[in-house]
């Protein structure tokens, strides 16, 4: 099957891809049987930004 260039995907297709990834993560979480915490704190560090930009290239 020919590889589809990411740029050719429509917004709907890209959102569908994200949806599939979230569903996969949700399935893995269900398997882990971890209890949902009351509070979660996440930060966006320079590392996150530079790391994701490097991967995008």
């Amino acid at each position: 099957m020919p590889r589809i260039d990411k740029k050719q995907l429509s917004e709907k297709q890209r959102l569908h891809q994200i949806s599939q990834l979230i569903k996969k993560d949700l399935t893995n979480l269900k398997k882990s049987k971890r209890e949902e915490p009351n509070t979660v704190e996440v930060i966006c560090t320079p590392h996150d930004i530079f790391h994701s930009k490097r991967k995008r290239k």
Partner: protein, 157 residues
């Protein structure tokens, strides 16, 4: 400025809310608005999302608060520092990326708080989508204009 950021994060949140998984039109951890907690000084983050739940009887209320590093504000206001280019990395494009990054956490957390503990591939892709969306909003276009006008004004001086 606080109102503009609050407006911007909620605009993006409402657009992507419930849009990701069409089968789940009303995710369990949904909030009706995102709170902008303001600009705070930080040594290790550009932005931060605090996601929490509170029980009110049998009802669970989800609260989602976004904070941004105060240096974004200094850079927007073009305040000078004694160190040259101290605030320059806190430019408008990094601000937009950071807002997209935090809003993506909030959208994904609608499906479960545990989903946002790590920066997943889904989060990275959603950040890209939201960043594109933000770039076309009148709020960001206005900020871009203000930055350009400021540059022109400095040249005249």
């Amino acid at each position: 400025m606080k109102e503009l950021i609050a407006h911007l994060i909620n605009r993006a949140y409402q657009v992507y809310q419930g849009k990701l998984i069409p089968e789940i039109s009303q995710p369990a951890n949904i909030s009706y608005f995102l709170e902008f907690g303001g600009f705070q000084l930080s040594y290790n983050w550009y932005g931060r999302s605090r996601l929490s739940k509170e029980l009110v009887g049998n009802l669970t209320i989800y609260k989602k608060v976004i904070h941004l590093d105060s240096r974004f504000l200094y850079q927007l206001a073009k305040l000078e520092s004694s160190y040259s280019n101290y605030h320059s990395e806190y430019n408008l494009s990094r601000l937009i990326h950071t807002i997209a990054h935090e809003v993506a956490h909030c959208v994904i957390s609608d499906y479960g708080l545990l989903l946002v503990e790590e920066h997943s591939e889904a989060h990275e892709k959603l950040t890209e989508e939201i960043e594109k969306f933000l770039g076309n909003t009148p709020e960001v276009q206005e900020l871009e204009k203000l930055q350009t006008n400021h540059k022109k004004a400095r040249k005249v001086r």
